[in-house]
């Protein structure tokens, strides 16, 4: 069976027309519309059925179920979800909102990728958080999550890039930062610095690749060894490598 497009058209002069578009087959051939495709029935050439929302025309006697043709690669799609049945080479721009997106991530679907993350990132700007709310640190030499979170849009391999800027009080101490996933303590030390008393400090551009589950919350965590230390500014971005 062949897929047919049902479209309206004006009618050119038959005397000079060799080809008739498939959406206008009235007369000339025994075309019969049968409605929904039915199992067990023998279809003859010219019979038209609908299956799965697609109109098919039979071109050879058969009892077989119509199967859809491979979808041609079209312009990249755009939306808040990835296409459900992508084809190799298909591209999609994933956003958090069509009306007011805060990030745009362009992916290409690689059917030959043997991993689970077949949507490979090829450009865009990822979810970003930046806050100057300020967070007093507890100097107990333990990890503490702080600041705003980002919810991971899709599972896959992501890159975390972040920075903090802060101050110390009367005591010198060490400060480390990491990434808290789903509220858990960081599994790695993203950066560490030793700071004298009453001083400014920063940890800039610490970056790591993380395998994240869709829906995970991601935030920054700190580890401080002295009291009266503060984080003044917190900023981080998630950028995908490949997702599913």
């Amino acid at each position: 069976m062949t897929e047919i497009e049902a479209l309206a058209a004006t009618s050119p002069d038959p005397a000079s027309t060799n080809w008739v578009p498939m959406w206008n087959l009235n007369g000339g051939v025994n075309v019969v519309y049968d409605g929904d495709w039915a199992s067990g029935r023998t279809y003859q050439p010219g019979e038209i059925v609908v299956l799965g929302g697609v109109t098919y025309m039979c071109v050879r006697q058969t009892t077989n179920r119509p199967t859809s043709w491979a979808t041609a690669v079209t312009m990249p799609t755009y939306g808040t979800t990835l296409p459900a049945s992508p084809v190799d080479g298909q591209e999609h721009v994933l956003v958090d909102s069509v009306a007011a997106p805060t990030y745009q991530l362009r992916f290409r679907y690689n059917a030959q990728n043997t991993g689970t993350n077949k949507w490979e990132f090829i450009g865009g700007s990822g979810p970003h958080i930046e806050s100057g709310a300020g967070w007093p640190m507890t100097g107990d030499s333990q990890w503490h999550q702080f600041g705003p979170t980002i919810t991971v849009p899709r599972p896959g391999l992501w890159r975390f890039t972040g920075m903090i800027w802060g101050t110390t009080g009367a005591n010198a101490g060490n400060v480390a930062v990491g990434v808290c996933v789903a509220g858990a303590a960081p599994t790695f030390n993203g950066g560490q610095t030793s700071v004298p008393a009453s001083a400014w400090f920063s940890l800039t551009h610490f970056e790591r690749a993380l395998t994240l589950a869709g829906g995970n919350t991601v935030a920054m965590g700190y580890y401080a060894t002295a009291a009266a230390m503060n984080i003044s500014v917190d900023s981080f971005t998630l950028t995908p490598v490949a997702i599913s």
Binding site: N113, G123, R159, E207
Partner: protein, 277 residues
Amino acid sequence: MADPVWVDGVTPQNAVNMNKLQTRDEKGQPSGYSSLDGTGKVPLAQLPPVGADLVYDGDYPATSPYTDGDIVVYNGIAYLCVVPTSAAPVPWPGGPVPVPPYPTPAYGTSLPASPTDGQQAILVDSITAPTWSWLFRYNAGSTNANKWEFLGGPPIESGPQGSCTCTTASTWVDASGGPAITVPRSGVYKLYAEFSASLSVTGITDIYGRVVFSTSGNFQMDNQDWSSQYQTHHVAQQMGQAALVAGETSKMQAMVGQSNSCNFRYFCTRIIPVRVS
């Protein structure tokens, strides 16, 4: 033998003549004869498949010339032939506007050898298990030798890994087990580097780190002045752009400005293209 002309009282009723007749039992049976319905027409069930002689031929011009009933696909529209022809189908006014095929970027471990202006291509390190994927657009109008301009993708990263101890002033030391990147294409890249370091003694010490490429040479990070024993610092820098050569490899090194012992670890190098050739 010709069919007999029956003559009453003359034509013999023998096998030769009688076997030429078809019995009613053969009506509607295989190798028999068809029946007629109440309107004097042959029932549809006793006819071979009817309807148009529709033959799907795939993309035009799969076969040519075409005859009535041939179906082809041309510029995304399916057409049915109604007059024998070799001519290409022509869209009708009011019909669907053929969607031009999306110029899907080439995808592979090398860039197209003879690109055209505006062509896009995705360069990966592996088709089946890529660790990075870079989208480029070829700008034929660029006066730069590197006409493949980067549009997006993640960096190549190696690390954090490796360590070394520096004790002698102004002597670069390789990071043992440190990061190593092989440059995939000649061009201009943004270069990032990181390390952590801890002084083992008290005393003002200048701390240095750099990325060394086997052909393009050294790219030094901004140096730091530290003074306290056992203090640990993490240094991460975007080091600007570097012109790199395809196939060359990188390593990282560390150095102290004074002969104070300092332990370095967590070396990391990243490159992301700006434009390549």
